[in-house]
Subunit: 458 residues, 2 copies
């Protein structure tokens, strides 16, 4: 969107030159219009939107965010809204209805045309994460006994509203799907060929109740831009197009990332989720983690006498436990993502464990040596840590090897264990690992302290 165009539009709105503005707007693409609208104040948004021809208004409306859509719905008159809703593609319309409060949804459904209403109500009956929610019923169905010319005439007559016609769906008299066929195969076939001779009754289909996450994987494995969706009775219910999979993938990754960060999935944009809702999503894990970390206070209470004798030991506690925590969350994150994208399966647990054993040891040695040298240098040149600095250096060095090794192991095995128990690994791994490794890190640290400092400091 060039600035010149935007400046021109702002000028026309200011001057009230709406006829000229209308001509300028109708030449623009929906994506450009969305950008322009989102730059404006509410009043100006409405002016622009009212001037658009219905079809263009509907296509632009589909790309606006839910907030702006809701604002328009609350402001425009019923006829305009009905026209736009009826023009919208069914899957985008369902997504909007999902977002709006129930009261508004009821009103909106009432103003839809009968066909569109039926479709929408049907679409709304499926669980939120099911394939049924992504379905668009606008596809082209053909019969086995049609010739390729008849198919093309059929598309010309009935295909105007189909979201995709690159694939055609062959159904029998009962509406049972018998095959799908690419339009290119029909076009590339010699004239006079009958559909029956082009098909092989092999097709991939989704089920309306299936999870969207599974659908993404099926799309990835099969090189299709759209897949047919069957209902409970095996009848062709509609199709799902691949562009919806891009959003599904993105939403799922967002949920996983938010869970890995230690909150529940927000399920709403960061800036618009109500504050109390956000507190609910974020406080839960923080409180559980706090309760878990209270175990560290108990663990340290157990070593209180030792600490009183050798206060210098406390200096390295944050360093030791955070190194364990960092290693643990690193390993957890890598394994959870590897499982999410199908690189690691439950049956690989032994390979993972072997790798993390070796890796944890190597990483631990690297960190341990650095920790050891740090204390050695400070002791030599700054005379910190008193006469028993060497024992302290050994304690810190070996503890680092221990917590890093333990962090890698615990961090990599816990998600696998949770998945085995049919729990969502993303939800709980990172926090559990952090607490587990913190508490055990203290035990590892004080054990090495006993070993190296018994009889001197302790």
């Amino acid at each position: 969107m060039e600035h010149a165009k935007l400046a021109e539009i702002n000028y026309l709105i200011e001057e009230g030159e709406f006829y000229t503005l209308k001509d300028v707007l109708k030449e623009l693409e929906p994506a450009e219009l969305v950008e322009i609208i989102q730059e404006q104040e509410e009043k100006e948004q409405l002016i622009i939107f009212r001037l658009l021809p219905t079809k263009l208004a509907a296509r632009t409306f589909e790309y606006l965010d839910f907030e702006t859509q809701e604002y328009f719905i609350n402001t425009l008159n019923n006829d305009k809204i009905a026209a736009i809703l009826n023009e919208m593609s069914p899957d985008d319309r369902t997504a909007l209805l999902e977002y709006l409060p129930n009261r508004v949804v009821k009103e909106l459904i009432a103003i839809l045309s009968e066909t569109e209403r039926k479709v929408t109500l049907e679409l709304l009956g499926y669980p939120e994460s099911s394939v049924g929610r992504l379905v668009t019923p606008e596809y082209v169905a053909i019969k086995e006994d049609m010739t390729v010319e008849e198919v093309i005439d059929h598309i010309r007559a009935f295909g105007r509203d189909s979201e995709t016609i690159s694939v055609l769906y062959v159904v029998d008299e009962k509406g049972i799907l018998t095959d799908d066929i690419r339009l290119r195969e029909v076009i590339l076939a010699p004239k006079g060929t009958v559909v029956r001779d082009l098909i092989d009754h092999k097709f991939v289909a989704l089920h309306a109740m299936q999870d969207q996450e599974e659908a993404v994987e099926i799309f990835r494995k099969n090189d299709r831009n759209a897949l047919p969706v069957l209902d409970e009775e095996g009848l062709l219910f509609g199709i799902v197009t691949i562009d919806d999979m891009l959003s599904v993938r993105e939403e799922e990754d967002t949920e996983d990332i938010q869970k890995l960060g230690g909150s529940e999935a927000l399920e709403e944009p960061y800036l618009t989720i109500p504050l109390l809702e956000m507190v609910k999503k974020r406080a839960g894990w923080l409180v559980i983690l706090l309760l878990g970390e209270m175990l560290t206070a108990s663990a340290m209470g157990f070593f209180e006498d030792e600490i009183a004798k050798a206060v210098v030991l406390t200096l390295f506690i944050p360093l030791i436990i955070s190194s364990g925590g960092n290693t643990g969350s690193q390993a957890t994150t890598l394994i959870i993502r590897a499982m999410a994208i199908g690189e690691v399966y439950l049956s690989d647990w032994w390979r993972v464990m072997r790798r993390e054993l070796i890796l944890g040891l190597m990483l631990g040695v690297i960190l341990g040596v650095i920790g050891f040298l740090r204390i050695l240098i400070w002791a030599k040149f700054m005379d910190s840590y008193g006469p028993h600095w060497l024992g302290i250096a050994y304690t810190v060095g070996f503890s680092l090897v221990g917590v890093v090794l333990w962090g890698s192991l615990a961090g990599s095995m816990l998600p696998i264990l949770l998945k085995k128990l049919k729990l969502d690994p993303a939800t709980s791994s990172a926090p559990f690992v952090a607490t587990l490794v913190d508490v055990t890190g203290l035990v590892i640290y004080f054990s090495f302290a006993f070993f190296f400092l018994r009889g001197t400091l302790l």
Copy 2:
């Protein structure tokens, strides 16, 4: 894949009934064949693959993972490999060549047909994250003065190898793209219509040197299954299809997640990346974090006298700093993801800060009250923490409010600051925040301790 089919195939291999096996295999879909092949040992994989007709072999080959592809390339004879490589779609072939060692790539390029070789070499000239790498040159180009019947005949004659013909590309004599048009518009147009009358010279195009991440966004904004790609001179270079965007999105999210987990992006599957490579990717941040955490040892050294006087204070150090760290990484993760999917922009920093101030305070109060009660209960019923337990309870309670508030603020602002400085927020935020909040958490804790315990414990 039903077990019965798999069992049948295993039986046929064991019995050496290769003629029957061949008949069974040729009826299967590539996705099924991939599943079957990946269930087998290497020798059996080869047997199955050798029995497939060339076209089916090529389509199946495209879906195999790089390792298996490499194994087949090293094992099969040159004629078979050449046939398969020439049948593969150019973008999949480029991805494979990318993966293989240079020596093998040279040999393979040599056995390609001249046209395929030219295409592959061209594709390999673009940076790894550029749109050029996803391009397939198999599209249908048409001229403005063709009629719709001529277009359909043209597709029938030349379209057999095009990856998608749902969109056609209108070029002038010099090969400059003047518009794109959906096949459906051509088919739906009345007979005799000329292409010129169907187009409006408005189209969206990608550039070969453009970043793939930008391409995903452009696909999301424009409702297309394929977009044309222009080279440096504006000539039509090829097309990119939306199914490639699904992988791009997934790879980018994987990188972000791995970075948020505190390692570099692995860029290879977890189970196959060489161990030394993995150590390199993981050790870097762990070492930097360790060096950062050494500041906590310095900070605590500063309070050593206080600790010696009141050892009981050390018991709550892990709890305080980990609560700050958890809050910080929670806020960081939410903001980084919100920026990645375009929910939060740099210009929103003030709104984010206002939200996190309020949220941090609310979360801090929740955690502070719990921490306060924990000490109160232990002191009353278990007689821990000595006579000054109330001062300690206040110290812990207020410190939790402080570190949680500070964690939310620092965690949310740092990614925004990093992005403002044109650095990748995902790479460095989580580790930086953790260290920052740990060190400052100690200062906050001991400051409250001074305030509440001065004259009693301290």
